[in-house]
């Protein structure tokens, strides 16, 4: 009797297996594909929670289903270059201009900005708090040989950081005090907090994490630290499979007065100040 039930268990499992596979197959076919819109974006827009607020509004209004792939700006543009994304929301202006110039993207529009900040351990071993500029602060970090955590992932933040090192005339790569995490902004901030290192962060992600970090802002308000987000449609002329209508709808949505209003107030209640500042229709900063 016992033996029989064990055998029956095995057979029942096999039948259940067949059944489940049968169930899974129609699920694969469901969902009209042209309704899908792939948004390749930065980790900061996801980690700050902004997209969790905006995407449902967009989906409800337009009927598109948005697949948000949160990677660094560099990877987002690499996806765009291969036609594997429909629309980008990124913050790496120099790389973006190149992306548009080479014909990978069209209709690059300014959406919003916030700023980058230099954060570090409260003790500030490199004494960057008194530095006159961000470039000088970076020089001080290098001179003191204090630990600096770099994103190291070709993200917009990483591109900005490399630009500042270049302006300081320092090549930090390979230095003992310079470590690349290869992670998103949130995770890199956690690493910096844990290892008591300096890092460059976007204010939005820092604000949403700061209560747990213990990494105060040591340098801010420098024009070089401006962080601008653009929306770019992937060029449908180059990649016919791209959902151009969806990309257009998303761009229009991001620039609409209502969305800009949401951006303006996002995070105010929770963090006591806005995380992003709406910029639609304004001239470019550079």
């Amino acid at each position: 009797m016992i033996k029989w039930s064990a055998k029956r268990g095995f057979t029942a499992m096999m039948i259940a297996a067949l059944f489940l596979i049968g169930m899974a197959l129609p699920a694969c076919a469901a969902g009209p594909a042209q309704k899908n819109l792939i948004l390749a974006t930065t980790t900061s827009t996801q980690d700050s929670g902004l997209l969790d607020v905006l995407i449902p509004v967009f989906e409800k209004r337009t009927g598109y289903f948005v697949k948000t792939i949160a990677v660094g700006s560099g990877q987002a543009m690499a996806m765009g270059q291969k036609g594997e994304a429909d629309v980008l929301l990124v913050h790496s202006p120099d790389a973006e201009k190149k992306f548009v110039a080479e014909g990978s993207g069209v209709n690059r529009m300014i959406v919003m900005h916030n700023d980058f900040i230099v954060v570090g351990p409260p003790a500030d071993p490199a004494a960057i708090k008194g530095a006159k500029s961000t470039v000088e602060a970076f020089k001080k970090i290098a001179a003191a040989g204090s630990l600096f955590l770099s994103r190291g992932d070709n993200s917009g933040t990483h591109a900005k950081e490399k630009g500042i090192w270049k302006a300081a005339g320092i090549n930090p790569e390979g230095q003992k005090w310079y470590q690349e995490t290869g992670l998103g902004m949130g995770q890199t901030l956690n690493v910096a907090a844990e290892k008591k290192g300096y890092t460059l962060a976007d204010r939005g992600t820092w604000l949403s994490l700061q209560a747990k970090l213990g990494l105060p802002i040591l340098k801010e308000g420098d024009p070089i630290l401006l962080n601008v987000y653009h929306v770019i449609a992937v060029n449908p002329a180059k990649w016919p499979k791209v959902n151009a209508d969806g990309a257009k709808a998303f761009s229009d949505f991001m620039l609409s007065a209502e969305t800009q209003g949401i951006v303006k107030t996002f995070g105010v209640e929770k963090y006591g100040g806005p995380l992003f500042f709406p910029d639609a229709g304004k001239p470019e900063y550079d």
Partner: protein, 232 residues
Amino acid sequence: MDLILEGIQKAFFLIFTLDAEVLGITLLSLKVSGTATLISLFIGISVGTAVALSRFPGRQLVVSLINTGMGLPPVVVGLFVTIFLWRNGPLGFLEILYTPTAIILAQAVIATPIVTGITLASIQHLPANLRLQILALGATRVQMVWLLVKEARLPLFAAVMAGFGGVISEVGASIMVGGNIKGYSRVLTTATVMETGRGNFDIAIALSIILLLLSFFINAILTQIQQRERPR
């Protein structure tokens, strides 16, 4: 320490209040990894048995490949599945990248060699005379294979558990091919990575605990079935 306690509290809070999002993520994890395991069982048991019972030139190489495949790194699978499923890739016409189906596919690729390898070893471990005896009693070839598989069911259940354990806990491939899309392709492991990145450690711990509980219950059920009969 407080953080861990908070996490545990949060886990039970999320479970008992049946938080819709967490429930959805948990069910999706179960569905995706369960389906992937079942697919891997069909392929793995068939291929494993076939290889175990046959002799052909290059068999050693095939067995070595299967055994290597048992340690296939999920990120490698994730990378290749992504490249194949790209719109402009060889399987782009399927349009399944960044869907739960893509995760099932990647996880099935990860679990299949595990199931195949264990099946191969367990069938081959059966006494050689058993085969002759079954055939001598007048069984057809199909009946013989079926009897052997049933005879090896104890280690085969271990294969199920190893395969399922491998894929439910896997994050690299799931995040690459699934995209961690909220309410759609977000599973327990990818959600844990994201919440950690967001600094929501309590939720991350809660998700981990749910994952562990889920793994435990699945394995407890499988063990229950496996151990009903004492091994001879």
